[in-house]
């Protein structure tokens, strides 16, 4: 028996970086919960995985009507549907992942109060399930590029880097909102409202070139600005991303992730108690 693993639960234990190794051990659980999330969401639904595509597509149609026909926004010669959709795909991922992850811990109450596992597993699984939606929506984008004759360039190879930063930002914010939502159940509508406002403060429907210069210094502090413009650049424009803006996004996202993770692990102790 002595050679066996010993679990010590001490009231005085503090946050240790060792928890990251623990996460590796629970990768099978992340995978299983992701699968469950996807299956449970799309079984017994009319459109199935089509929902993943319907949302950004609907926004694209509306944006095309309003911003390209009515407001006649400049799009640098790119067909507006591609211009908007290339930004809507990462935005929808961000928005949906944050929305579901915020209520993630509370909706999984039954397993949180019954078994032990690192609680961030739930958050990672929620985000991963939304990532599958993202991939489905991205396939449509590929189809649209063929349709409109937008040729991809080598800059497209930067997509994984952009995705990594976007994931860091999503996970960071989700860790914070989900932990807060355990104590304050009305955080979900707050997040919903915040996302609606944020959509207008992010260059999704319009290009950053339309933003007046005097508010730019403040505007670019939104970490989504560099990311969304980055996605649009490498996909629709076939150009390098705005490096300076992307650097701001990366720094904010990763610093936030470290802080959020430390906060989450501290808050985690009380979850089974309060939830």
């Amino acid at each position: 028996m002595t050679a066996q693993e010993i679990t010590v639960v001490d009231s005085r234990a503090r946050f240790a970086p060792g928890v990251l190794f623990e996460l590796v051990r629970y990768r099978e659980l992340i995978f299983a919960l992701t699968q469950r999330e996807i299956k449970a969401r799309y079984r017994q639904s009319l459109l199935g995985i089509g929902w993943a595509i319907a949302q950004p597509l609907a926004f694209m149609v509306v944006f095309s009507l309003v911003f390209s026909r009515v407001a006649r926004l400049p799009t640098e010669g790119i067909p507006y549907p591609i211009f908007a959709y290339a930004a809507l795909v990462p935005w929808t991922f961000f928005s949906n992942a944050l929305t579901t992850a915020t209520i993630g811990l509370v909706s999984q109450r039954s397993i949180v109060t019954k078994t032990y596992f690192p609680r961030e597993v739930i958050i990672l699984a929620q985000v991963a399930a939304r990532f599958v939606d993202f991939l489905a929506a991205a396939l449509i984008l590929a189809g649209m590029m063929v349709w409109y004759g937008v040729a991809p360039t080598l800059w497209l190879l930067l997509l994984p880097v952009l995705l990594l930063i976007l994931l860091a930002l999503i996970v960071a914010l989700s860790l914070i909102t989900s932990a807060l939502n355990v104590s304050y159940r009305d955080l979900a509508p707050v997040v919903g409202l915040g996302l609606q406002v944020l959509l207008y403060l992010t260059p999704v429907a319009y290009s950053i070139t339309s933003v007046p210069g005097e508010i730019l210094p403040l505007y670019v502090l939104n970490p989504l600005v560099g990311l969304i413009e980055g996605f649009r650049s490498v996909v629709a424009r076939g150009q390098p991303p705005p490096w300076d803006l992307l650097a701001i996004s990366a720094v904010i996202s990763f610093v936030l992730l470290a802080a959020a993770y430390a906060y989450f692990k501290r808050a985690e102790r009380a979850f089974a108690d309060v939830i």
Binding site: V9, D10, L29, S110, T115, R185, D186
Partner: protein, 262 residues
């Protein structure tokens, strides 16, 4: 209470195999729940009250200074009334709750059976739920795949295994949950009043499997309201009352004390 633990420990040391036989050790464990005096669930309310310094909590100690050791292969019973802290004790051992004070040490893998089937999802099929529940218990997909036939055999659910779980009866869910949790022999098995569900024949089947595990070296922590079940299954027991350890030791002595107090 402390002297009792010391004597326990020395008797364990005196035995041939020594104290390395300890599998679960609670060292002066206390658990405090903080219950807000009025339930504040909205962020705005909380912000206002914090500013007014009006956030007040009632403290409630679910466990106070509980020390006990459970040895390898023992079937250890925990008895007490509702709200005595039995479930809290199990949660602390299962790592679901962290003690407010004190320390818990567990040697080996714990398979919690707290309310069987809690981790199940009603829209998924029995088969999918088996894999999901297995993952929650820390098994790999390959582990579960290897055990799958035996799990369904034990639960006797071959006819329904691909039907969504919402079509199952509560007894069927309980059978599946027990079958998954006990598919491979864990070092520590936690059983929280789950034997109340399912019919008589299945309960006997579960008891048989638990006895077999216990002979194979598994330590079983059993919570029950009914003292007959504890007397039948356990060798030693602890009696909790309002979070305090009232008695600890031979199951009959403890159960007699508990029944005498009623």
């Amino acid at each position: 209470m402390n002297s009792r633990i010391v004597s326990e420990r020395s008797s364990a040391d005196g035995s041939a195999s020594g104290s390395s036989n300890t599998v679960i050790q609670l060292d002066q464990v206390s658990v405090r729940y903080r219950v807000p005096r009025e339930r504040i669930v909205s962020f705005k309310e909380y912000a206002i009250r914090t500013l007014q310094r009006r956030v007040s909590h009632d403290e409630f100690w679910a466990l106070r200074d509980v020390s006990l050791e459970v040895r390898r292969g023992e079937v250890f019973g925990i008895i007490g009334r509702n709200g005595a802290g039995k479930s809290t004790l199990l949660k602390v051992v299962a790592r679901v709750l962290r003690p407010t004070r004190g320390r818990v040490r567990v040697w080996g893998r714990v398979a919690p059976l707290l309310q069987v089937g809690a981790a199940f999802h009603s829209e998924l099929s029995g088969r999918e739920n088996v894999f999901l529940n297995g993952a929650l218990l820390g098994y790999t997909h390959a582990d579960v795949a290897r055990q799958f036939e035996e799990i369904v055999d034990f639960a006797e659910l071959w006819d329904f295994i691909d039907a969504p779980l919402r079509t199952y009866s509560s007894g069927m869910v309980a059978r599946l949950g027990f079958a998954v949790a006990t598919a491979t022999q864990p070092e520590v098995l936690i059983v929280d009043e789950v034997l109340g569900v399912g019919d008589e024949r299945f309960r006997e089947k579960c008891q048989a499997r638990m006895s077999q595990f216990s002979e194979g070296g598994t330590t079983i922590l059993l919570v029950a309201h009914s003292t007959p079940l504890v007397r039948e299954m356990c060798t030693r027991a602890a009696w909790l009352d309002h979070g305090v350890l009232k008695a600890l030791g031979d199951v009959d002595e403890v159960a007699n004390g508990y029944q005498g107090a009623d």
